[in-house]
């Protein structure tokens, strides 16, 4: 693994201006939107996405930005929650919780220019620089004037475009944030909104409240929502991020069982490697999976709001084998049991418990968190204009929910095959070094898309 020295590079990203984009039609004033229990539980976190587009045509600088700004204004007509502002209002029954007042204030948009091309940029940046493409502001002292969504459009002088979207996790999860970009792209390209968002509450309480005795999902939340301070070892070491492309994890693992997905294999792989990097001999590291439950709750893909749950993986047997492939196979099976075991009632138990008992946000402690976004690819490409090709998507989730390490599994935009996946791995630096050198990981022939840069004095 190449260790790059941290060179002091000139700021390649130059900010042009910041403004507010509002919808084209005025909203119905004074509407208050409530958050669901899943939303409240994710409050202290925020999401950042970067979409890279490469192009073959040369454009006037600023031309595509102007077009995107106008189409964003039209898109926002369907997202009154996004253009509203957070208020805390007590309304009798509810305690002092956040709500969104739809006041038509709009979202902040930042315009920037970057030198070089998209390909050059991606080859040479690390996490800190990539985040320069996504503007974010922490909540102000007065939340009523704070925009919950930020959009940044960066034009690359020699060709290409990067769109950054950041938002608070209170309003959206990565799935609906990506759907927002998809809706915006469709509107820009075809002037037609193919998948407008749906705003409604989660399914109502069930009549027969049969509490499952062995609801592991619920127990995980009960434990995690009472964690107040982060565990001590999380803050010592610097967290670094690398992006790896796995061309065909299924073949490498030799799995031919029905129903195992690349996400499950990759999560298992990382679990095994991280456990070894942490120095655990006969133990596997704690791991939580973040899964989208829209389909389980019979909600549409375009449901806007948080709908992803964190489920800790339970290892039923102690680890005995030294054969790493067998170990991998075991872990993958356990992961698969978790994903299969989730059903409507399990999740509804959680929803009901959260509604009646819980006021705290969730924290994943020092677990390794694996987020499943592999199904976010679509047969229809996500394009803003005819010759803008989506070349890469990066996703960051920051906050207590990120645990002690993160692995976000995304679909691959390159034509490597339908089973190829991009994984953004965030780990403490010491563990990252060991994981990247691990032979088991190497046997999957990952391609390094984004490196981290090692600090000189470490």
């Amino acid at each position: 693994m190449l260790l790059k020295e941290k060179t002091i590079m000139e700021d390649r990203v130059r900010l042009i201006c910041k403004r507010t984009v509002v919808s084209t039609k005025p909203v119905e004033q004074g509407r208050l939107y409530r958050f669901s229990v899943f939303d409240h539980v994710m409050e202290p976190n925020h999401i950042r996405l970067v979409y890279y587009y490469r192009t073959s045509k040369t454009r006037e600088p600023g031309e595509i930005t102007k077009k995107l700004r106008e189409s964003l204004a039209y898109t926002l007509n369907c997202y009154p929650i996004v253009t509203g502002r957070l208020v805390k209002e007590t309304d009798g029954t509810e305690e002092n919780r956040w709500k969104v007042k739809s006041n038509d204030a709009g979202v902040r948009m930042v315009e920037a220019r970057a030198t070089g091309t998209v390909e050059e940029w991606r080859r040479s940046v690390n996490r800190e620089e990539e985040l320069k493409l996504v503007h974010w502001e922490d909540m102000y002292h007065l939340p009523y004037y704070w925009s919950t969504f930020y959009v940044q459009v960066t034009e690359f002088e020699s060709g290409g475009l990067a769109i950054g979207l950041s938002c608070t996790h209170l309003l959206a999860d990565p799935v609906c944030a990506m759907m927002f970009i998809r809706t915006w792209a469709d509107l820009t390209l075809t002037r037609n909104m193919m998948t407008p968002p749906l705003f409604h509450s989660l399914p109502p309480r069930r009549f027969t409240s049969h509490k499952l005795s062995n609801n592991q999902l619920l127990s995980h939340y009960i434990r995690s929502c009472s964690l107040t301070a982060p565990p001590s070892n999380v803050t010592e070491d610097r967290m670094v991020t690398t992006t790896l492309l796995f061309p065909d994890p299924m073949v490498q693992a030799g799995e031919n069982e029905q129903g195992i997905s690349p996400f499950e294999i990759l999560s298992g792989l990382l679990c095994v490697c991280v456990s070894r990097a942490k120095g655990k001999r006969n133990e596997l590291t704690d791991m939580s999976l973040c899964l989208d439950v829209r389909k389980l709750l019979r909600l549409d893909q375009s449901y806007f709001g948080n709908c992803m749950v964190y489920h800790k993986v339970h290892y039923s047997k102690p680890v005995t084998t030294k054969d790493r492939l067998l170990l991998l196979s075991y872990v993958v099976k356990e992961i698969h049991n978790v994903t299969k075991g989730l059903d409507y009632d399990t999740v509804m138990d959680l929803v009901e418990w959260l509604s009646s008992n819980n006021n705290n946000p969730i924290s994943n402690g020092s677990d390794l968190v694996c987020i499943n976004l592999e199904n976010m690819a679509n047969s229809r490409p996500m394009m803003f204009e005819e010759d803008l090709m989506l070349s890469h998507v990066s996703c960051y989730v920051e906050g207590p929910v990120a645990g002690g390490g993160q692995a976000i599994v995304l679909p691959s935009q390159l034509s490597e095959g339908p089973m190829s996946r991009v994984v953004m791995v965030t780990l403490p630096q010491r563990e990252m070094v060991k994981v990247l050198e691990d032979e088991l990981l190497q046997s999957f022939s990952p391609v390094l898309l984004m490196e981290y840069t090692k600090l000189l004095n470490q």
């Binding site: 910041k18 403004r19 507010t20 084209t24 038509d104 004037y145």
Partner: protein, 486 residues
């Protein structure tokens, strides 16, 4: 208040009929006089019979020189009359600029930006919020792109690009509507009060459209919200001197350079109320335009009262001790604007009451002319909600009369000199403009000036398919609450 008794008195039915009769009598005085005389002559002639007529004829001792002199005299009088008759000035058509939806500024965004920029001056933000709540503006008014930035960038370049955007779009639309070739423009007048670059805005227009080198161009700046009618007056005077000409007037206000970033309350006021807009108007004195022109200019009165202190305070924005903003419209306003634009009957009554007050008894109530008899439509400059309220009260106008002004304020904000044209466009879009209707446009300019124009509609105007109101006219009129809670 003495005025309150007048409406009660006038509204009694019998008096109304008397008034209508009186008005008819005075308005058609000449014809009422001539018809009986002609009738008497005709009856006499018939009675006399042909021989008697011949005898009367012979006895008049016509003589050739005498005949020639009298014919010459008649021809002389009639040609003097025709030459000195002022040329009819027509308003062929006009176009108002419709800002793009991406420039829209809802109240919440305006307040948020204000808060972010004036971070350490919460009282100024509070002040702006109170203004906005009571302003009568809606959520669809537009500000130029430079003001949308955080922080705003009111540079010269941005101001120029706003000017180009608003002026050229309106003019392109006007050319398309009227089939006018730029080379045919004889007179160009551009008025923009607060932005006066070098080269001037009129030079910018000439450069863009490659107008003729012998065009008569004027650029009026610093004349405030009533500059639109000042430009019309100037165009009318020029069209008297130049036969067979046309004139383009561009009325606008460029907002970009005037975004005030300081703390002085009186100077923060324009930020809250002024919005982007412009209008391009084509006027001409071609005889051939009398079929296609929309309006004919009847009267135009310009009153400048800067010399008189009382008039200086006649329309004056003040803050009272509670910090509430009010427009102070004094009763002298009627004395300034009223008499000259009224029909003859009203003028007579006004004159009589004036004489009465001066000679007999100063305590006689001043006669408030009934403007509603004189005009079908009113366009009051949408300077602010208080101005429209006061004028409605003082002129005793109904809600429908001031609807155009209020709705223009709601949809477009205070666009300064071009607001009168947006209001006229509103009336046309509602399909209320009929042939022969008279429109009274009143523009106030910062307490110094009050300008009035009276137009007579030349042909019934069909509801326009394009124009600034085309996509929203069905939503209007809207109810505008006293205070919008922000």
């Amino acid at each position: 208040m003495p005025r309150e008794q007048m409406p009660e008195f006038s509204s009694s039915v019998k008096l109304k009929y008397v008034k209508l009769g009186f008005q008819y009598l005075v308005d058609h005085f000449l014809s009422l006089l001539l018809i009986p005389i002609m009738a008497i002559i005709a009856i006499e002639l018939l009675r006399m019979g042909p021989e008697e007529i011949l005898n009367v004829w012979k006895s008049l001792h016509f003589d050739l020189v005498y005949l020639l002199c009298s014919c010459f005299f008649v021809i002389f009088i009639s040609s003097v009359y025709f030459i000195s008759k002022p040329r009819t000035v027509y308003l062929v058509d006009y176009c108002c600029y419709k800002p793009p939806v991406s420039c829209r500024v809802p109240f919440a965004t305006f307040m948020e930006h204000s808060r972010l920029i004036l971070n350490d001056k919460p009282k100024s933000v509070e002040f702006q919020m109170r203004i906005l709540e009571r302003s009568g503006l809606g959520e669809e008014t537009c500000l130029p792109p430079a003001i949308h930035y955080i922080p705003p960038t009111p540079t010269m370049d941005e101001a120029r690009s706003e000017a180009q955007m608003v002026i050229f779009t309106a003019m392109d639309d006007l050319f398309k509507k009227t089939d006018l070739m730029p080379k045919d423009i004889d007179i160009l007048i551009v008025n923009c009060s607060l932005f006066s670059p070098t080269p001037s805005l009129s030079a910018m227009v000439i450069n863009k459209y490659k107008l003729r080198s012998n065009i008569k161009s004027f650029n009026l700046s610093g004349m405030g919200c009533s500059a639109g009618l000042i430009s019309v007056d100037l165009a009318r005077d020029l069209l008297q001197v130049h036969p067979n000409s046309n004139a383009i007037i561009v009325s606008t206000e460029i907002i970009t350079p005037n975004y005030y970033k300081g703390n002085e309350r009186a100077m923060l006021l324009p930020n809250c109320l002024f919005r982007m807009g412009s209008a391009a108007i084509l006027m001409s004195n071609h005889r051939s335009d009398r079929w296609r022109a929309k309006y004919k200019l009847s009267h135009l009165v310009r009153t400048h009262r800067g010399a008189d202190d009382k008039s200086y305070y006649c329309v004056y924005e003040q803050e009272d001790k509670d910090g509430n903003i009010g427009i102070n419209l004094s009763k002298d306003l009627m004395a300034i604007a009223g008499p000259l634009v009224l029909p003859a009957s009203e003028q007579l009554l006004f004159l009589l009451s004036l004489i009465g007050r001066k000679i007999f008894n100063p305590k006689w109530k001043p006669y408030i002319p009934d403007f509603k008899l004189a005009f079908e439509h009113f366009c009051i400059h949408a300077g602010g909600r208080a101005v429209i309220d006061e004028l409605q009260k003082n002129l005793q106008l109904s809600g429908e009369h001031v609807e155009a002004s209020r709705m223009t304020l709601h949809r477009f904000g205070n666009t300064s000199s071009s607001s009168l044209w947006y209001e006229l466009s509103y009336i046309e879009s509602k399909g209320r403009m009929r042939r022969g209707d008279r429109v009274w446009q009143i523009a106030f300019g910062s307490g110094f000036k009050c300008n009035s124009a009276v137009w007579k509609c030349n042909r019934t105007i069909k509801t326009p398919k394009d124009g600034p109101w085309s996509d929203c006219i069905d939503r209007y009129p809207v109810f505008i609450p006293e205070v919008v809670k922000l």
